[in-house]
């Protein structure tokens, strides 16, 4: 997935000299290929993220196409106001790349973990939010970000979980869910994003549930979400992000108004990580490991089967 990211970035930069990569002194080996292929388009802006985002706005104002890279804890979180005011307010074509979102930096603690970035960015007008799940979605997301020519936040989470799609995706359509798996219509369906699509697929196999991936969290297509709710008996949302303001919120904002549906939002509870450990450990700490999620999903399936309206 990271290779797909690097390849797309290099390809876009080679094709368009206006593309610039700005990094806040992060991404050492990730940008080896970029630095050797397009050294003139690489700018290490130093450990100065706020200025970097403002600077990207200035570069965009005079015709460049900046891609601004940082850890999601910093791009966007540290720079939310610069993104709002300097970039989104004036609809400038800047792509913000937040890497390591969720609990990727599981051993480093809260400073490097990011479970509030979707909530923060989704509320900023004009800013579209992408969250690819595998290398195919990543390639399509990068192409979409470049073609959009407006402000984009692209969230990159745990990237080594394998593919969820069988092959390349032609192109992302604004707000569309991608169906990953068919399943029973009398049970709830799973809508997942980023790293959690893999988990959703693994759970869905044993319970025979439908699964959709959402490589785009904003906009989110009303008709698509409505159709998913109509095709199933209830929904789950699954994300490596706070249960507040992320995918779960985006889906329920639509269902509550357009297709009243029971939705169980599965994500990071409203708390910071307490302990240190592997990524798998931290998922367990927050109840997002596959066993815990499967138990919650199965219990909710049973609840809806016995008491669909309550």
């Amino acid at each position: 997935m990271r290779e797909a990211f690097s390849n797309a970035l290099v390809r876009l930069a080679l094709a368009d000299s206006r593309v610039l990569l700005l990094t806040g002194d992060h991404g050492y080996s990730l940008f080896d290929e970029f630095r050797s292929s397009c050294p003139e388009q690489y700018i290490n802006a130093g450990i100065a993220e706020q200025n970097m985002v403002g600077m990207a706005a200035g570069l965009a104002r005079v015709g460049f196409r900046p891609f601004v890279y940082g850890l999601a804890a910093f791009i966007p979180i540290r720079t939310v106001e610069q993104i709002k005011l300097d970039i989104a307010h004036d609809e400038l074509p800047v792509v913000l790349l937040g890497d390591g979102a969720g609990f990727v930096y599981s051993h480093l603690g809260t400073s490097h973990q990011s479970t509030e970035d979707i909530a923060c960015t989704r509320a900023i007008p004009h800013l579209q939010v992408l969250s690819p799940a595998d290398r195919f979605e990543m390639t399509a997301a990068m192409d979409y970000a470049y073609a959009t020519n407006g402000p984009i936040y692209l969230r990159m989470g745990k990237a080594d979980l394998g593919d969820v799609h069988a092959g390349p995706i032609n192109s992302l359509q604004p707000g569309r869910l991608l169906k990953v798996r068919d399943g029973r219509s009398d049970r709830p369906g799973l809508i997942a994003t980023g790293s959690m699509v893999r988990v959703a697929v693994d759970i869905a196999k044993s319970l025979d549930l439908m699964v959709w991936s959402t490589p785009m969290l904003k906009p989110l297509d009303v008709a698509n979400v409505r159709a998913a709710a109509q095709a199933t008996n209830g929904l789950f949302t699954l994300e490596e992000h706070s249960v507040l303001g992320g995918l779960g919120a985006a889906v329920t904002e639509i269902t509550s108004e357009h297709q009243p549906t029971r939705v169980l939002r599965i994500g990071v509870p409203d708390r910071f990580s307490e302990h240190c450990g592997t990524h798998a450990y931290l998922l367990r700490e927050h109840g997002l490991d596959i066993d815990t999620v499967r138990e919650r999903v199965w219990a909710y399936c049973q609840l809806l089967a016995s008491n669909p309206i309550a």
């Binding site: 100065a48 706020q50 200025n51 403002g54 600077m55 200035g58 106001e81 005011l85």
Partner: protein, 280 residues
């Protein structure tokens, strides 16, 4: 009644006229931040009169120079310049702050002639750094002037931007500090002392001068000298100014950061500027 510059023979960007425009806007809109605008009037006079190039008098001309008002609180002074240029009509002045109007109390880049959305301090300078870096990469001779308040220098991104400016040898950028000695709650010395700004920016790698920010001849000479020296260095002009300059009862009285005009103070202020008897 104001009139645009094309309709009379007064020298464009005359400080007294521009202060009158600011007063008329502030009175019409019952707004604050008059003193923040008054401290940068002569700086803008010199920049708009002698330095800023707008091909075809087009505020969005691709080949223009950029005036980045990072201290968005002084925006009425920039509106006054845009009025002199004919980019704003008298009606913009008279309808300031009316419901549904375009001109806000802080700089909004959606208004042609304003380059950044500022007022949240410490933003505009970084955008200006990016503009300068972009223009330099394109190999144009366009210049960027970024005006920051001395209070605004409290903000961290200013110093991040200063490092980047010097690192990339952005010799097409001039940082202008409106050193009026005040910020919202008091004097800069009392709130957060700035020390020797000329020494600070020099140490960051800027070619630096200090100037009387109300002496047009001195400002002109300083800007000319800065562009002519330190060929690979960014420029910093520390302009010593008086907050509220031009109206005696506003000068260095920080209350005029927040105070609104009433009919009496409006008439008195106009009178001090030599416009006795005129009314809007």
């Amino acid at each position: 009644m104001t009139s645009t510059i094309s309709e009379n023979s007064i020298t464009p960007f005359s400080p007294a006229r521009m202060r009158r425009t600011v007063l008329e806007m502030a009175y019409a809109g019952s707004t604050v931040h008059i003193a923040c605008a008054f401290s940068i009037i002569e700086l803008l006079t010199v920049l708009y009169r002698h330095y800023l190039r707008y091909p075809g008098n087009d505020p969005r001309a691709e080949g223009r120079d950029y005036l980045v008002l990072s201290k968005g609180h002084g925006v009425m002074a920039q509106y006054a310049c845009m009025h002199e240029l004919g980019w704003l009509e008298d009606s913009h002045v008279q309808s300031y702050f009316k419901d549904g109007s375009d001109l806000k109390g802080l700089s909004d880049s959606r208004v042609p002639g304003l380059e950044v959305t500022s007022g949240s301090l410490g933003h505009g300078f970084s955008v200006g750094v990016g503009i300068a870096l972009g223009l330099k990469r394109k190999g144009t001779d366009q210049k960027v002037y970024a005006i920051v308040g001395d209070g605004e220098l409290n903000e961290g991104p200013i110093w991040e931007g200063a490092l980047v400016t010097a690192h990339h040898s952005l010799n097409n950028l001039m940082l202008i500090v409106d050193k009026n000695g005040f910020q919202a709650m008091g004097s800069t010395d009392d709130v957060l002392a700035l020390g020797d700004l000329q020494a600070k920016f020099s140490s960051f790698g800027f070619e630096t001068l200090e100037v009387d920010g109300h002496d047009e001849t001195a400002i002109d000479a300083a800007i000319r000298q800065l562009w002519a020296t330190g060929p690979n260095k960014p420029k910093a002009l520390i302009a010593k100014t008086v907050k509220g300059k031009g109206v005696s009862f506003m000068e260095s009285i920080n209350l005029w950061h927040y105070t609104r005009l009433n009919p009496q103070s409006f008439a008195e202020a106009l009178g001090e500027l030599g416009f006795t008897g005129e009314s809007i």
